[in-house]
Symmetry: C2
Subunit: 270 residues, 2 copies
DNA sequence: TAGTGGTCTAGACCACATA
DNA sequence: ATGTGGTCTAGACCACTAC
């Protein structure tokens, strides 16, 4: 059997039809060996990035992709497996494989780790969201560094308060790069029902894929106190988040203050 | 081909040699269908739990396990893949598959998420560890609940301070169930060099596999202030951790106070 | 040279969803 | 009935490590 050998970088070059080279060196040279399924993964990633497959839409079946990339179904499968484990794709048995989105009810507020002490009404997300401000400013040095742009470039700055059961609990300041989010206004934020990251997807084509947070304990200043209806002596969680889209490109800096008297930040360690 | 059909719950019943039943119902009945590799995973888990394979030791090769469990190598592979992704096993190409441990330098302090602001000397773990106290007490209501034992049962209570560059940064109180940790003393803790979870493995055969943390911002009391050389006005991160061994059995409750003026708690969101 | 994990294929069959 | 993802097998070959 195996009339056509499965060599990775040889003969009819399965993947080359769409992507050149990659590990196109010779056979057993050291510089960069990339298994086939990793190359397929990159190709799928590019289609996601380019918008060929939009959020919540189905991507082609494993068999179709196998034909398209000229590899076996099992190889496509392994590539999709990894993308699914990274929450970029969602598999649904019998239905297909879909582009992940922040808008689905199951995974809404995927990046929000604050939960109420009384576990009853959990994970539903904040009951009220109040946009305080949304303005265009120039990036300071630290904002620019976080967003990987140049100091002084235009960014959008948003401030909002999230409440649980009418109790202000989270005060957030956001900075977004000006170009991709051109046209975002306070009114548009207020009008949209649902998670902000879902709005970013549908209105601006920006999918947040991964985020990193730095957490500290701090005391609020007077302005923050007023917005959160708390005192200057109440310690708060400071949560600084950088959210990334494809290719590890930072697209949002978010500084949050969390009241943790009735809620806690949850983390699981593996 | 395929002289022997790969039916999951039929004929020669591959796995039944070691584990009976599981999904031993009929063919297409609804109650509990478990794929073969999941059953293999359970079997491997049992061998880990029973101590048949000890931390840092190699487990049998995929081929050997395939023969032992009477399944194909690919099925064993998928079971091991999942266990590796859960950090219970570590694969090393060309060498074998090994039981994970907290003692290896790479993954030491796997559960510690505090990092210095200056990323230079990162992830090396605390420079100094000072055992303040280690005593036998009776479990209060909340301690008992966390450890899934009865109120009033014997537990060990440990208090210690971790310092980075001679600066006290973490104050921790630990509670351990009395029975599994019988014989643990302050001197023994002091004598051991290396992570505490490594000591638990080698001296008491308790492997911590997973943990959950609840994080809040708090102000310290006077005693805590003294131990951390800080003031009552300095907010601290309160980190309450429950660590689990196999079968989701809680084996440690830990309450930590982190100074976050020169360090931050890092979390990645996917 | 031998043994281990890692990749890739081809084909069969099962579980699930939909028409 | 059809198509999708999910499981399982068998076999070939590659990459890495050790002896």
């Amino acid at each position: 059997m195996n009339t056509e050998p499965p060599s990775i970088s040889e003969s009819s070059a399965p993947v080359a039809a769409e992507l050149a080279g990659q590990a196109a060196a010779s056979s057993n040279a050291t510089p960069a060996f990339s298994p086939l399924y990793q190359q397929i993964k990159v190709l799928i990633l590019q289609s996601l990035q380019s918008g060929e497959w939009k959020p919540s839409a189905a991507i082609p079946s494993e068999m179709d992709l196998a034909v398209r990339f000229k590899v076996s179904q099992g190889t496509v499968r392994k590539a999709i497996d990894e993308l699914a484990s990274e929450n970029l794709l969602v598999r649904r048995q019998g239905k297909g494989t879909f582009v992940a989105t922040h808008a689905e009810h199951q995974v809404q507020y995927r990046f929000l780790r604050l939960f109420p002490d009384s576990g009853d009404l959990q994970g539903e997300g904040p009951a009220q969201r109040q946009i305080i401000d949304c303005k265009r400013v120039r990036a300071s040095a630290d904002i620019a560094r976080a967003l990987a742009i140049r100091q002084g470039e235009a960014v959008l700055q948003v401030r909002r308060v999230l409440s649980f059961a009418s109790v202000p609990t989270i005060l957030e300041d956001l900075w977004l790069p000006g170009a991709p989010f051109k046209g975002l206004t306070a009114d548009r934020l207020r009008a949209y029902q649902g998670p902000m990251y879902a709005l970013f997807e549908t209105e601006f084509g920006v999918r947040m894929v991964r985020a990193e947070e730095k957490i500290r304990a701090v005391l609020p200043d007077v302005e923050q106190c007023a917005l959160l209806h708390t005192s200057a002596k109440t310690p708060l969680l400071s949560v600084e988040r950088i959210a990334f889209t494809y290719n590890d490109t930072p697209m949002e800096l978010r500084r949050g203050l969390y009241l943790t008297d009735t809620h806690y930040y949850r983390n699981v360690l593996n």
